[in-house]
Point group: C2
Chain length 257, copies 2
DNA sequence: CGTCCACTTGATGGGCATCAACCGAAGTGG
DNA sequence: CCACTTCGGTTGATGCCCATCAAGTGGACG
């Protein structure tokens, strides 16, 4: 599906089949701009763990995520690391108007990107100002997301942070993959992060992540199958925990099973 | 200076005198767009502590800060609060493309804003797409700032956080007010925040802020005159502390003065 | 001069980091 | 097929950083 050749018509057809065409940047553009983008787009695959860009060597392209998850992280010389953003399918990758990004982007799962050569993309942007408008809307959303996360990092307990992370990821991942919403509100999804990644998202250690996951399981708000598959029997309860409500009163101390 | 009347020519003149005209949004616009903005602009004053907008009642205008500092904060029902952004002179205020902002904006000092009625501003934005481009650039910068701060909240110690905050504020405030850079690199500025505000920026308590400020004074990287005036004898040393370098070796234990 | 408020300083404890051991799954090589 | 290693993850023991509770200080202001 990604070796379709180079003809304009085929590009167009590729967009028609695109799984994210209704949510991505291009979906909100006027059609001439969308068409211009489609002619410069090409798909790229990356394996999990691949570094996409880093502070000093920027790639020569922008991209929209078609499938997979990307983490944006900042690392200090002494090894401290913080993940400052998670990018999901339909999200935009790249930092316009800057020679280089201050953060490192890395694939946390295997990845399919719809890439646009940097120069070509900027040419389209000059030609079609509506592209800047579309980017502005997405950037404002990202800013809101980042600021919400700042609250999580600054003021929530370890358990609330875990609940917040799981809830946010479930929200982004479940509608995309049609993961059986059959069971009366139960959500199931594959977490695109290792325990260490989770810790780096949350400003915690991986040991604490492990312990608090255990706690959440005993409270019954999450369950797991294997190391990556998470089941939320009652997403509302998880959200409640995430928003900072210590409401559990009695089911709290039946831990000794 | 703010009671100049309503004539178009006077508006223009007002812009000529504007102290931030070389840094604000309008400075990067093509001249017809800048002119269109100038005709809908009007100044407003606010006292320190005034709430400008909150989650459910948005103001009917956007604004550029002419003088003063604004904090953006998120508060939980149980009282936990986190400041998620500080806006300085020349920064833009408001959340385009959303019915309401998720955060509360409050003046931390007395404030002078250059306001644009919401509908008028959006009309100018449709007429002049370069305005969206200018907003995009600023929003991307804000996003970088927010993500840098996420690292501070997630991974730095209390002292490093304090150093980071003071350094960031000094960077923004010192070039604006021409505060004597006479003394060989020494920087002086008035902190636009109370101790509680500082704590809410940093995810700490005000007691910890107080103690760590004391520590920084003993280390000699800061000095204070009164409660709001801060002196940085060696900004580079402060930056060093902020970036996470525990380099102080001997001058650490001469506390008993 | 008394009250208030922002701030400071002190005493204590808890939440999470740190250090360490262990476990199980996935290679790797004989 | 089975030792051996590696790596992500879990569990346990201990300690420290910072929150919490509490009291004290000093400037502003009526």
């Amino acid at each position: 599906m990604r070796s379709f050749g180079i003809g304009g018509g085929l590009e167009k057809q590729r967009c028609d089949n695109c799984p994210i065409r209704d949510w991505a940047l291009c979906s909100t553009l006027e059609s001439p701009a969308a068409l211009a983008l489609s002619t410069i787009a090409n798909f790229k695959h990356f394996p999990a763990g691949q570094v996409l860009q880093c502070s000093h060597t920027d790639p020569s392209w922008y991209a929209v995520i078609v499938a997979g998850v990307v983490k944006l992280a900042k690392t200090l010389a002494d090894g401290r690391q913080q993940i400052v953003g998670l990018q999901f399918p339909a999200d935009f990758l790249g930092r316009p108007f800057a020679a280089s990004s201050a953060f490192q982007a890395e694939a946390t799962t295997s990845l399919l990107l719809c890439c646009f050569p940097k120069n070509d993309f900027e040419a389209v942007m000059e030609e079609h100002p509506c592209l800047e408008g579309a980017l502005l809307r997405r950037t404002l959303d990202q800013l809101d997301t980042a600021r919400d996360w700042m609250f999580t990092l600054g003021r929530k307990t370890a358990q609330e942070r875990l609940a917040s992370l799981l809830f946010v990821i479930a929200e982004r991942l479940v509608p995309a993959s049609g993961s059986s919403p059959s069971d009366e509100g139960t959500l199931t999804f594959d977490l695109p992060l290792s325990r260490i990644d989770m810790a780096d998202c949350l400003g915690l250690t991986h040991e604490t992540v492990s312990r608090e996951l255990h706690e959440l399981k005993e409270k019954g708000v999450i369950a797991t199958r294997g190391r990556r598959t998470f089941i939320l029997p009652d997403p509302a309860a998880l959200e409640h925990l995430a928003k900072g409500a210590e409401a559990v009163t009695n089911s709290d101390s039946l831990a000794g099973s």
